[in-house]
Amino acid sequence: MYRIRFHGRGGQGMKTASRILGTAFFLEGLEVQDAPRYGAECRGAPIFAYVRASRSPINERGIIRCPDLVIIADDSLVTVPAAGVLAGVTDQTFMLVSTSEKAVTWSHRLNFAGSILTLPTPVEITDRMELRFVGATCAGAAARLCGIITSATLEQAVREELTGLPSSVIERNLEKALEGYTLMAEHEGCIKEKAMLSAEQYEVPEWINLPFEKASISAPVIHSSLTSELMPTGLWRTMRPVIDREHCKKCWWICSTSCPDGAIDIDADNNPQIDYEHCKGCLTCVTVCPSHAIQAIPEHKNPTSEETGS
């Protein structure tokens, strides 16, 4: 069985990458299972997706614990523990990193004895969302590494998975997928079908008896004042509410009490102030303001997003 795991951020096309690879395997006549796994469903949050492919029906299910190939579309994830990029990695694992650095640098940095391959990216990437075609590149590279997918099949898989998108987008993805495919030419077939686990010798699970603990310890209590304030949830926003002071009548309560995130404070002069660190951009305030004083502006068009750190 082939076991492949893709890691990236929401918006970088990891689900699509896994589906392109899954469909390519399927078109080559293999049994396939592919699935994304999300945490927070938003742009920028770590997500991963996985693909199993085999000549016989697949009974394994769920997250791949010990992948043969780990693909890291965004190297900034390596240091994010929640992303679990290195989970189940052994010295038998291949890692394919989209990075501006060298493979040896990553080997050293991770103290990793397995093989590292790289997909070079331009050095100066400021906005990681520029990497939105990286998924296609990764899918193409993975297809080549497995050695049993032809470029014609890869092309068909890309077209099938992107059906319905504008043809310019499909062509761009196709170009990127084939670029990844070509880059991996010299490593073609390095990912082999791995045998199944043996029941003769296996790692015995270190089960424990869960100890009884009093409710003062074991109740799931979250203290919002310290956790949510420190968490800049404003990163989720795609639309930004902006108050037009000329039109604001300082009614002082409508927008602030309507905000589901408590992100609008009223200052001493009755001016509403939006806390962009925590505003999620739901635009409730825009809807409720009777003076139509709040506008919605696409986040990427906002000139001040750098300064406000959001």
């Binding site: 469909t23 015995v204 699970p205 270190e206 089960w207 869960l210």
Partner: protein
């Protein structure tokens, strides 16, 4: 017939489309929403002649489903977790109306704490409601089960609503190859619904919900529902025999995987049971006589089939992906009551709770459950029920507790 990659949600939607349903009351909830989105899309593009209505809650959604079913049309709906529980009052009510429809539940653990990932506490909460229950192990089975569920619920001997259950994430968002049967073949297996005397009309009011006092009529109606649910077993066997003939896939009430010569068995429902299958294959390679029993049909529970399959076996490892607080695993209690007092039944049942809130169960853990069960047979005594939980996991939780504790102190609590 086409074979393509579909998610469990996609397969459920295809089931509804091929069943040519008339009416779909809907309310969104993760991880079920994709089912409704698929159907909505097909309806918009005139690929499906159904009417969809979005309701303001699951409670209303199930009421609408039952009411529409009472007019004699074919109804489909879907929900998950908190949504199913919010509809609980109406689940019992509409089942009592004896107007059949199909509800897909995408299993997800219940709050609190809240999660998106699967376990079976939601569907277990509905086990006594009067809905029949079919549990799926893979995406193909989801599509097939929706078709079978309509035949089953609409059968004149049954006339009860049916829940088709699939696990969130492990099936709902997982693509697998699925055969989509030809509409003509489906129409042959599942002809248009003949509602007999079910015919509720606005202009001719009747009551589906009469008040009865004194207990005598009440007992009659409730027990008749129970008898219908029991009758459904024999009807299910007939229908799946026809299904196998039409589509070549046996969908027996009880899946028996490599059980013939087995001494030990895993007993489990849902998609995690495919992991048990995998473990069975591996264990057999190293000489174990072991198999898997998986009830597809959970309501009614195929008791006779289970006893037949377990006659002469030594030990059963029961894996519950649910937890009845203060009691333990639901499947374990159910199996014990099925076996008790019958001759030649296995003397040892071991009980494992695992996969709560989407917690994975590894192949190694299946190996170990087999070992524990074999040891229990040797000792002649079953160990206490076990939660599948490792030392590493406890350390992870203790780390979170340490942080929470620091916060409590900062907030002025006594350490």
């Amino acid at each position: 017939m086409t074979r393509k990659l579909l998610t469990g949600n996609g397969a459920a939607a295809w089931g509804a489309r091929l069943a040519v349903v008339d009416y779909i009351p809907a309310f969104p909830i993760t991880p079920q929403t994709e089912i409704i989105e698929n159907l909505e899309n097909w309806i918009d593009n005139e690929q499906m002649p159904a009417r969809m209505v979005t309701l303001e809650s699951e409670h209303s959604m199930i009421t609408a489903a039952g009411a529409a079913a009472a007019t004699g049309v074919r109804v489909f709906s879907a929900t998950s977790s908190q949504g199913l529980l919010y509809a609980m009052e109406m689940l019992y009510t509409v089942a009592g109306w004896r107007a059949p429809f199909v509800l897909v539940n995408v299993s997800r653990g219940l709050s609190a704490p809240i999660t998106l990932e699967p376990d079976h506490n939601d569907i277990m909460a509905a086990r006594d409601s009067g809905f029949l229950q079919i549990h799926c192990a893979d995406c193909q089975e989801v599509l097939d089960s929706v078709l079978i569920a309509y035949r089953l619920g609409e059968d004149e001997r049954v006339r009860l609503p049916v829940i088709v259950n699939l696990d969130g994430f492990y099936l709902s968002f997982t693509r697998e190859p699925v055969e989509i049967p030809d509409p003509q073949a489906v129409a042959h297996f599942l002809p248009p619904y003949d509602p007999e005397n079910i015919r509720f009309r606005a202009s001719t009011p009747i009551s589906q919900a009469v008040a009865v006092l004194g207990g005598t009529p009440y007992s009659y109606f409730r027990y008749e529902s129970h008898l219908a649910a029991q009758k459904a077993l024999e009807v299910y066997d007939e229908i799946t025999a026809e299904f196998a003939e039409e589509f070549g896939r046996p969908r027996e009430a009880l899946e028996s995987y490599r059980t013939e010569d087995a001494e030990y068995l895993f007993f489990q429902i849902g998609s995690f049971a495919t992991k048990a299958r995998e473990a069975v294959d591996r264990l057999r390679e190293s000489g174990w006589a072991i198999g898997l029993l998986r009830p597809r049909l959970f309501r009614p529970l195929p008791e006779k089939h289970i006893r037949q399959a377990l006659a002469g076996k030594k030990g059963v490892a029961v894996i519950d992906q649910n937890l009845a607080a203060g009691r333990g695993g639901v499947l374990y209690s159910e199996l014990a009551s099925v076996l008790f007092g019958h001759a030649n039944m296995p003397g040892i049942l071991t009980s494992f709770i695992g996969g709560l809130g989407g917690r994975d169960i590894s192949t190694e853990e299946y190996f170990e459950m087999a070992m524990v069960t074999r040891q229990a047979v040797t000792d002649g005594e079953a160990p206490s029920p076990r939660l599948l939980y490792t030392e590493t996991e406890l350390r992870e939780v203790q780390k979170l507790q340490a942080i929470a504790n620091m916060e409590r102190i900062e907030l002025g609590a006594k350490p």
